[in-house]
């Protein structure tokens, strides 16, 4: 048995355990053991603000993705099979384009001379172009778009498992559509809501390319701190410490979520 799984174990060791171990090691060893890198995260303002902003943006993105994704998943679940395939295909299609391409596409839409501003000025709705990008707004819009499938798919999977006759039963027992939705469908779809939100929130915590391109340098998320520490200051230790804290945050979130629903559901195994 061990002989059979050992190649797989070796791959996991080489690709996951060793790099993460190396990451942790770098964050605490620099000419001897030191917690200096962690001390700076706790004490220095820029780190605090960046972590706070990252959580804020992630929360906002998660809420927006839920508000946009729930109706889409609901619709995909409610319509006949052919239509639901089409809806899901439209949700997943952008998935297959590079994140970079999508970020630039948003740039083309949102920038001062972009499609939206030009159109609004053509209609004379606005005099000055709106600041739609190079700020938190642009970051949030593009991130929501990119992460939306991670919300819609778990929601859809959960809704698919809600037996159709429960809603019929609700209706026959006197519940109007709103009442039946609030009392039956919504509660039964909550595991999907939790799974989708966890997925989007966690992915958003570590998002890099989109905030880098659309945040205009003012929206500094944690992943950008990592990159700056390496690129600008050659501080691998500091970068590793930030990455470790981020990793621990994600693990903590998964731990808390796992108290409520099986992680298999979040990770799409079931």
């Amino acid at each position: 048995m061990l002989a059979l799984v050992s190649p797989a174990l070796l791959v996991i060791l080489a690709l996951i355990v060793l790099p993460v171990g190396w990451l942790v090691w770098q964050s605490i060893y620099h000419d001897g053991f030191t917690l200096e890198n962690y001390r700076r995260i706790v004490t220095e303002d820029i780190y605090w603000r960046s972590f706070a902003l990252t959580f804020e943006i992630s929360l906002l993105v998660t809420v927006l993705a839920l508000l946009l994704g729930y109706p889409v998943a609901y619709l995909a679940n409610a319509v006949p099979r052919g239509w639901s395939v089409l809806i899901l295909a439209l949700v997943v299609l952008p998935f297959w384009t590079s994140v970079l391409v999508r970020a630039y596409a948003w740039l083309a839409l949102l920038q001062r001379t972009g499609v939206i501003n030009q159109f609004l000025r053509y209609l004379d709705v606005i005099g000055e172009p709106l600041a739609l990008v190079h700020n938190t707004f642009g970051t949030v819009v593009a991130t929501v778009h990119i992460l939306l499938p991670f919300m819609v798919l778990p929601l859809y999977a959960t809704m698919q498992k809600i037996p159709g006759d429960l809603m019929q039963a609700g209706a026959s027992l006197g519940a109007g559509p709103t009442h039946a939705f609030l009392r039956i469908f919504l509660p039964l779809s909550l595991p999907g809501v939790l799974a989708g939100c966890t997925m989007v929130f966690v992915l958003c915590l570590g998002f890099y390319i989109t905030p880098e391109l659309l945040g205009g340098g003012r929206t500094v998320m944690v992943s950008m701190l990592v990159s700056r520490n390496v690129e600008l200051y050659n501080q691998f230790g500091a970068a590793s410490a930030v990455a470790v804290v981020l990793l621990l945050s994600v693990l903590a979130i998964f731990f808390v979520v796992s108290r409520f629903i099986s992680l298999d559901r979040v990770l799409g195994q079931k």
């Binding site: 019929q168 609700g170 026959s172 027992l173 559509p177 009392r183 039964l188």
Partner: protein, 360 residues
């Protein structure tokens, strides 16, 4: 007429899915307080008809009346009917008590009145004190009862049931059938019950509607359905009958191969006729010289012991296979020859059922 019950009138209801006619021009009247079963094989349209009554399916044409009101276009939640679903459709995220109280909440009844009503409804189905249980903790039979309590708590004047007992084992199913009968008498509501089990339909119903390929073939009281089937499909579906092609001889006789059988019933005018021989109506000839009885002689090909009864398979001289049932007691055993022996059976003219052959 009972105030607690509602009459139902179905006027030439049809439902087409593309080219498939799931329901084909069905008209049916159900009296207030009546227990009517819709019986048929799968694909006969019985579930479609129930869906139309429940408001879950809109008919392609035709209309539905409850107690004289046209409800054809009324959404399900306004119809005020109790529905018991095949797999019970209990809400998994609610306790038994919350499930049963659901119709009260949906109707915005004052909360103070709920516990007493829930208690009474659960007591009615023999589940007193189960309020706090989770649905997942219940056995199939208990879920069934919760579904019943939930469908009855708001005292609907019409209850629809879609094969509610089909998931239960045989013994439980039979005891639930008797319970449902008793419950029906007590609450007095009209019940329309879908099943594919003819025994279940005969046991519980005031009348049974036999359906096939989306059409209503016959609706009658159980005894009439059994002994006066409208055609060979009903005869084959109800009871344990062997259907044999026969030729019309005259107004009261048919020919089965070389044998001529008398029937005390009018013989249908159709050309293609079938003789429906119920296995319990064939008797072993006791030698009494009763010329009125039809007699058939054959060779015993098998005797099957089935507990309370024996089933004896016979082959007539021309190879036609028949079977008869004998109660399993010593006297009956004694009269049955061993396999290969010759046996003469009688069929009373009153039991000689000749029906038109149903079109396939």
């Amino acid at each position: 007429m009972d105030k607690r019950a509602e009459s139902v009138e179905i006027r030439s209801a049809s439902k087409a899915y593309g080219a498939v006619r799931a329901l084909d021009d069905v008209s049916l009247n159900v009296g207030a307080g009546e227990f009517v079963s819709l019986l048929g094989p799968s694909g006969s349209g019985k579930t479609t008809l129930l869906g139309i009554l429940g408001g879950f399916i809109l008919p392609s044409s035709g209309s539905i009346f409850f107690g004289g009101r046209d409800v054809t276009w009324m959404p399900p939640h306004k119809r005020d009917i109790g529905v018991v679903f095949q797999n019970y459709a209990l809400f998994p995220h609610m306790s038994v008590g919350e499930n049963v109280a659901f119709p009260l909440r949906a109707r915005r009844l004052p909360k103070a009145a709920w516990p007493e009503k829930v208690r009474a409804a659960l007591a009615m189905v023999g589940l007193a004190g189960y309020e706090a249980r989770g649905v997942a903790q219940l056995s199939g039979g208990q879920r069934q009862r919760v579904a019943l309590a939930r469908a009855m708590i708001f005292e609907p004047r019409l209850i629809l049931m879609d094969e509610p007992l089909s998931a239960l084992d045989k013994q439980l199913r039979e005891s639930m059938q008797i319970e449902l009968r008793t419950l029906h008498r007590r609450i007095g509501a009209t019940i329309i019950y879908v099943t594919h089990d003819q025994r279940e339909a005969l046991t519980m119903s005031d009348r049974v509607a036999v359906m096939k390929d989306g059409r209503l073939i016959q609706i009658d009281e159980p005894a009439r359905l059994h002994d006066h089937p409208a055609n060979s499909f009903v005869a084959s579906f109800i009871g344990e009958a062997t259907l044999l092609p026969v030729r019309r001889v005259d107004a009261c006789r048919v020919a089965l191969g070389d044998a001529v059988l008398r029937s005390a019933r009018p013989i249908p005018a159709e050309d293609a006729l079938m003789l429906a021989v119920h296995s319990e109506k064939l008797l072993i000839d006791d030698g009494a010289d009763d010329a009125a009885r039809n007699r058939l002689t054959g060779t015993v090909t098998d005797v099957v012991y089935q507990g309370e009864s024996l089933r004896i398979f016979l082959a007539l001289a021309d190879g036609t296979a028949l079977s008869l049932r004998q109660p399993s007691h010593h006297e009956a055993h004694r009269r049955i020859p061993p396999v290969g022996g010759s046996l003469t059976v009688t069929l009373h003219p009153e039991d000689t059922i000749v029906v038109p052959k149903a079109s396939a």
